[in-house]
Amino acid sequence: MHDLVQYIQSYLSSDKTPGAAGNIFWAVVYVLLVFVGLSIAVIAMNWLERKILAHMQVRLGPMRVGPHGLLQPIADALKLLLKEDIIPDEADKVVFWIAPFIVVLAAFTVFVVVPFGPTHAITDMNIGILFMLGVSSLSVLGIVTAGWASNSHYPLIGALRSSAQMVSYEVAMGLAVVSAIMMTSLNESSTGTLSMIGIVQSQLEQHQWFLFKFFPLGIVAFTIFAIAMVAETNRAPFDLPEAESELTAGFHTEYSGFRWSLFFLAEYSAMIAVSSIAVTLWLGGWLRPFPNALNGPTWDLAFSLIPGLTFLFLAGMCFYSTVRMPKHPLFRIQTMGLAGFGALLAAIGLVLFIPAVRVRVGDIFWFSAKVAGFMYLYIWYRGTFPRYRFDQLMKVGWKVLLPIGLALLIVTAAVGMRTELWAQVQGVFQR
């Protein structure tokens, strides 16, 4: 028993990820934490998307289930679980069964290497970014098999579109990623890294986010990735695989109930996954703003208060809405619910002010905040852009993003090696 406690406690003083420390207990804890956190994030994203889209279109959005529709995603999830699960007679039963699980597995497995902080990752792999790109590209297999197994026209066309689209945009995405990885190699030993934690640490060492490195090369690479990642996750304006007006619901037309909800879950966690790749590669991962320019204990303290203050601000918004609730007796339970939600947020905010908690969650907060920015962008795109036509989609992928990506790769390499290149040129002239 004592050994077990010691085994569990021994990790707390180390500065490694559980995978690197070889501690199975904490690895399992981290896996569970990531899984629960992701599920909560997907639920929150579901509510936020409906609310924000509604407000963009001057509607109210869900208002009935819970105060401001806060319980709507839970009601939706319950409905999906209780719904009849239909498998079409003509479908290929086994493949129809497996397809949603392939998508969910691919979407969740990538979070093994996502660095929420220098120690807050399940493990750190030497091939981190390759692993993320590879495993997330497996989700297209699930989509293709889902469309084929349904044995129906709309899903098949949706699956064909989806595979063509994802394979095309993976190329541009890979080129943008390689240009960011090349930037990691600009240090004394001139060896780069593919590890997700290593990439963020090299941004810390080089005193700048890769977004601003070799201005404007970093921004161009980031833009290519930001466009390609929307196409990779089949979201608007690249949501041709599930274009409602043409294909009903695309590859998951025949799916219902629990299996459909798996596709939903996978889509949103894939969005979070690609956003965290973008945050890790170009936006400094878990680093707080200005970790080098504004350092010292005072600034550290000031920045470590921000997570708690954010939650207190959200709680304040809740209380403000509580006051503004209609004073009718029918709204009493809703008002109490909203006040309770505000109190919960305030309690979380106060917990985040405890010094021991404060120093540990700062990195998770900054990482999540950056990812949340991307999630808002996704919703914003959906509310703003009209859908691309398929030939336009292919044109953007192959004739615009790919050539720019290739040129970017060469220019980044040349700028990174400029001193060596200059020495070579001088050597030629001296000879």
Partner: protein
């Protein structure tokens, strides 16, 4: 970068090896026995993923990652893409097997003989392969592969690497020329 034996001893190696090997063999058998081409392709994907896991066991994470990206994520998607466009009913009415017993038996016997030869020589204490094979620590595998390929002092396989990529380029251009009559 000194080649060193990995610091942490591997966990449950035989268990994982036999598990993965079984998955690979079953997947491989399913690939050739399934009548439905999509089922065959799915079995092939399983085999390729198990193979990637075997590369991980050999301390070659880079090769494993590339295997997943290229084979499971890239090539197999194109396979499925093509297979999906085939009418299953018509394909199942076609002749399924080429009955070439003689060649098949000869090839199987040659492969089996090779396996037995390797096993018997190794079990008698003589190694068929170079001994003292060094494995790089896992945290430097990618860097080691890169320096072996490109470093002037270590390997200098740059030329053959570039030749291989040129070959691929020729194949791509050839495909475009064949597909498009007028460019």
């Amino acid at each position: 970068m000194n080649p060193t034996i990995a610091a942490n001893p591997p966990v449950a190696t035989p268990f994982f090896f036999y598990g993965l090997a079984a998955v690979m063999v079953i997947g491989g058998v399913l690939v050739i026995t399934r009548k439905n081409a999509v089922h065959s392709a799915l079995a092939l994907i399983t085999t390729l993923l198990a193979q990637a896991a075997l590369y991980l066991m050999l301390y070659a994470p880079f090769v494993a990652g590339v295997q997943i990206i290229l084979y499971a994520g890239g090539i197999m998607v194109l396979f499925l893409f093509v297979i999906m466009l085939i009418s299953i009913e018509r394909a199942s009415r076609e002749r399924q097997f080429n009955k070439q017993w003689l060649v098949g038996i000869a090839a199987a016997a040659a492969l089996g003989g090779l396996l037995i030869a390797v096993y018997t020589t190794t079990s008698r204490g003589r190694m068929m392969f170079a001994e003292g094979r060094t494995s790089y620590v896992e945290s430097q595998n990618t860097q080691a592969v890169a320096s072996f390929l490109f470093d002037r002092s270590a390997g200098m396989y740059m030329f053959s690497f570039e030749i291989a990529s040129l070959l691929l380029l020729v194949a791509i251009i050839g495909a475009v020329v064949m597909a498009k009559k007028r460019i």
